[in-house]
């Protein structure tokens, strides 16, 4: 029995293919400003909220991860579909609102078609109609609504035009349905086979051919000429062949160029790492100094004793060791967010797929591996978008070999110890070398595991890389910053207590066996105050974690 049903609150779930404007709609309805993700399949957390009170609908609203079809393939898709059918906490939705990119109507209609045949009550929201209008076309809502026998609403995510209509449609649908616990939903495994998929698409094509209308008859439409061209090719068969976004194609001519594309990719990666380490460094030093000073302040002003050491070496240094990584994590999430939102991340995955497949990985391993340089744990979670089990496990095995940011202070300490002060540039090269070595070692390890993998994974489904390359767009800075803030907060809240806890345990273990702690502890923490040219270190034992 779900809670929502007890309170007689209907459950509305938002479903849609990746990049269809689903999250934007969720933000509009819930008033919460979450990020709109551009890398297919990256909405992972379920955002749930009540619909804004100004819309006067009492309903629980859930945002679900983007899916292409109701028949799942990868683990994350299975999770998404399973929870759509019956969410462990929320139950089965009373109403499904599904978003569709108008420019991709013929692809995106598959999901609503499947939802209808599964028995869900749905409302279709057409997004990006403004882009379609620029091409001189519009979709007839009434025709589409009639063809699919469900409500269709046109919504402009930016101007919020159409939201009133959506609310009205939602209200009338909820009234018609009434909240019941009994729903006749067909399980997805009995939905359809490959042959049926072709038939479904045939039906969709018929609908699509019927619903498109010209904005103005006399208007010059460049698409029409393109279509005419295609029609000759298609030999009289009907055509709904839209061309992808022109500007995207132009940019891709360079960014996916065989030579310049890869060069640009390397430059982007270079800039990413440079900023993670060089821009973050002064900020990290600042945090570091702050906590070292705090530590000294406590040590100077209080009587030396176990409690003083607990506060200074345990709590203050422990907190410092959590917060010192925040600048790096902020910068990494910011850059990843910008790349993701602009649409480049999917291209990066495409460019790196071939080299990665040589060592048993997948282009989709790229983003998790990149995140692994900041922190391994969210990186491992991100690996779930890889459909092939072997490649997914490989990626997870490889991620810890990526030098995560927590190791940076240790490297800095060692480099400061080994390199004379007057040749700091040597330190930079050394640090670069460490990162190169960590990358090379992970490649070698992956290659070795790959060699023996046949013994580990005997019957394995074939490897696959099919990825939608979204149209380029200028990233929404506010959304990226918001997401960066939320991710960093999550890091502090989730990883923070763990690191602090272990830090305290280690402090306890290094402190208490000693009879004369003032002297002995310092010796036990190797090199902490002995090496003269080492920057004031805040907490060595945290790196044991």
């Amino acid at each position: 029995m779900r809670i929502a049903a007890d309170l007689k609150v209907p459950l509305i779930t938002l479903v849609g293919p990746p990049n269809s404007g689903k999250t934007t709609l969720f933000n509009l309805l819930s008033g919460k400003n979450y990020k709109t993700v551009n890398y297919p399949g990256s909405t992972v957390e379920y955002y749930t909220s009540r619909i804004l009170s100004k819309y006067n609908i009492k309903a629980e609203l859930v945002d679900s991860p983007g899916i292409v079809s109701l028949i799942p393939e990868s683990i994350d898709e299975k999770v998404a579909v399973d929870s759509l059918y019956s969410h462990p906490k929320l139950g089965t939705p009373d109403l499904v609102i599904t978003t569709i990119d108008s420019c991709q109507l013929s692809r995106h209609l598959l999901l609503p078609k499947q939802l209808i045949s599964a028995g869900f009550n749905i409302i279709i929201v057409l997004t990006m109609t403004d882009i379609l209008a620029k091409r001189g076309l519009k979709i007839s809502e009434s025709k589409l609504s009639k063809a699919l026998d469900c409500d269709v609403v046109v919504l402009n995510g930016r101007s919020k035009q159409g939201i009133e209509e959506l609310i009205q449609a939602t209200n009338s649908n909820l009234e018609r349905i009434g909240v019941t616990d009994k729903k006749n939903i067909v399980p997805y495994n009995s939905l359809e086979n490959r042959k049926d998929l072709i038939d479904t698409f045939k039906e969709i094509e018929e609908i699509v051919n019927d619903v498109f209308e010209n904005v103005r008859e006399d208007e010059k439409i460049y698409l029409n000429s393109a279509n005419r061209e295609l029609k000759i090719l298609q030999d009289g068969t009907t055509n709904n062949g839209f061309t992808p976004d022109e500007i995207t194609l132009k940019i891709d001519r360079v960014l996916l160029h065989r030579f310049w594309g890869f060069l640009f990719f390397l430059i982007v990666m270079g800039i990413t790492f440079t900023s993670i380490f060089w821009i973050a460094q002064p900020l990290m030093n600042l945090v570091d100094e702050l906590f070292t000073n705090l530590n000294t302040l406590v040590l100077e002003n209080f009587e030396p004793g176990w409690f003083t050491f607990l506060v200074s070496d345990g709590i203050i240094s422990g907190t410092g060791s959590v917060l010192v990584f925040v600048p790096q994590i902020l910068i990494l999430f910011l850059i990843l967010g910008l790349l993701e939102d602009s649409g480049y991340l999917a291209r990066g995955a495409m460019l790196i797929d071939k080299p990665l497949s040589k060592i048993g990985l997948n282009g989709k391993s790229f983003v998790p591996m990149l995140s692994g340089f900041a922190c391994a744990i969210p990186a491992m979670i991100a690996a779930r978008t890889i459909p092939n089990r072997k490649e997914r496990l490989f990626t997870i095995f490889i991620i810890p070999l990526m030098s995560c940011s927590a190791r940076l202070p240790v490297y800095a300490l060692l480099i400061a110890y080994l390199i004379p002060k007057d040749s700091a540039w040597l330190g930079g090269i050394l640090l670069g070398g460490i990162y190169l070595l960590s990358t090379i070692s992970s490649i070698v390890v992956a290659w070795i595991i790959n060699k023996f993998s046949k013994r580990i994974f005997s019957t394995e489904s074939s490897s696959s890389f099919i990825l939608e390359l979204p149209s380029y767009k200028i990233p929404k800075i506010s959304a990226v910053i918001n997401h960066t803030y939320n991710s960093s907060k999550q890091y502090i809240l989730r990883a923070g207590p763990m690191i602090l806890g272990f830090s305290l345990v280690l402090w306890f273990l290094t402190f208490f066996p000693n009879i004369n702690p003032q002297v002995e502890t310092r010796v036990l923490l190797p090199g902490k105050f002995r090496i003269s040219n080492v920057p004031k270190d805040w907490n060595t034992h945290s790196h044991l974690i």
Partner: protein
């Protein structure tokens, strides 16, 4: 018979059938690759693989081994 994997740069083709025996065939069809559709090879990756194909108004990056099950007229 030619397949989508054999398309040249900027070449168009019409899908005649999808090889159902290929493990990725369902996924390929779900992305809109169905018989009768016109596709165009937009670009190839640095190592010639994967390739980016335009289908139903969007770009899909796909490995050549998988594009091989898209048979053309």
């Amino acid at each position: 018979m030619r397949t989508a994997a054999e398309l040249n740069y900027k070449e168009k083709g019409i899908i005649s059938e999808i090889d159902f025996s290929h493990p990725s065939s369902k996924r390929i069809m779900e992305h809109g690759f169905t018989p009768g559709q016109t596709i165009e090879l937009i670009c190839k990756s640095t190592f010639n693989d994967p390739i980016a194909i335009s289908i139903r108004g969007t770009l899909i990056a796909i490995r050549k081994s998988e594009a091989g099950c898209i048979k053309l007229k």
